[in-house]
Each structure stands twice: as C-alpha cells, then as structure tokens.
Assembly symmetry: C2
Homo-oligomer: 116 residues x 2
C-alpha cells in the first residue's frame, strides 16, 4: 500500500494519522498480531506469514523496531538466533489491534460485499 507515513517528522497531521502510519505497511499488522502471543524468531514469523518475502519481513521488522514497537534480540550463536517480541509500547497497541479485529469480524464477515 501506499503509505500514510509522511516521513517528514513533525509536519504530519493528527494523532490518528500518525498512529496509522506506524501500523501501515503490508505486513506490520500481522507481525504485531503474531507477536501478541509471544516472542518469535525470524523464521518462525516467516512460516507463520505465508507469502511474505525475506526482504519484506526484514524491512517491516526494522521499521517496527525503529518505531519502538518491537524488540530485537540477537544471540551470538551459530546458526544465528534472533528473537522478536513486542515492546511495552508495541503491546499498548493491543486495543487498536483488537478494535480493528472486532470491526473486521463483524463487518467483513461471510460476504464482504456489503459495500456498494
């Protein structure tokens, strides 16, 4: 998706928009969602999210980390071990995620053709 994020700091709009810009990105929401249940390793996320490419997953994780929503922990091992988990800030997004989930569940149910 095109992005809401105006990467220019300070100039953006209201709180809602800025919040949206953090969870906007093709896979961020799913990632946050999966992490709500607990820490996951890179390849665990890949397996949980079919269709995401390595490159995209890396990018999204980096952005989430830069926004302080997730924590990345690297263990100096071979083969490498990297774990991702929600930060306190990320976890505080739970109400937003849940509001979206509930809306989707009730409004996009069976046939999502209520549009038009």
């Amino acid at each position: 998706m095109p992005r809401v994020s105006s990467k220019v700091p300070g100039v953006q709009g209201c709180a809602v928009e800025r919040t949206l810009s953090l969870i906007d990105g093709k896979w961020k929401i799913v990632v946050l969602y999966k992490l709500l249940r607990g820490t996951l390793r890179f390849n665990e996320l890949r397996r949980l999210i079919p269709n995401v490419t390595q490159r995209m997953l890396t990018h999204q994780l980096r952005e989430l980390e830069a926004d302080g929503l997730i924590v990345r922990t690297v263990y100096a091992q071979v083969p490498p071990r990297v774990e991702y988990s929600l930060s306190a800030r990320g976890r505080s997004l739970e109400p937003v995620l849940m509001a979206m989930k509930e809306w989707g569940d009730t409004n996009l149910s069976s046939q999502e053709a209520q549009a038009a």
Copy 2:
C-alpha cells in the same frame, strides 16, 4: 503509502488486515474523522484538509464509497452540490478511529522520539 490492500478478493489475510486495508490511504482516516461530525460537501472537505489535492480527495472518497463507508449524495443543481456522509458501516468504525486516536494521544505526545 504502499497499500495493505490486496485487491484480489478472498485471498487476503485476517480481519485486522482487511480492516486496515479499508482505512489505509493517505487521507481516508482524516476524511472519516471529519465526517464523524456530520455531512460535508466536497469543497468543505478540501478546505478542512489542507494539502489534499482535488484528485486525491476524489480518489479517496470514491474508494470509501466503494467500500460502503461513506454515502455520496448528488443534488442536481448548478453549481453542483455533492454531499458526503458516513454510512452506518462507516460510523461503526468509530471505535477503531477512537482507539487509534487515544493511542496516538498518549504515545506520540510531546516528543514522539520514544522510539529507538
């Protein structure tokens, strides 16, 4: 923003993603937000949302309409009069919008540099 929306119906992911895809788009959230307070005409929206171009506003409104979130009413007058208002479905998004607003208010406050 890049879009979450995979315009291919049926194949998408979970409820959260599909919900996000509806409010994703550089101006949709603001539009929905403004409309929470009541019906507005095209140029009223333009004036309320600085920086949006006519083309983008039209696009976003059309998508919101196609998704059944807003209602477009045309009055056969000259000069033209077109009013936009939230549909029941659109209004039901209020909790999502509010959850995002609250999160933004408390987490992106003064300095939004908690990241890193």
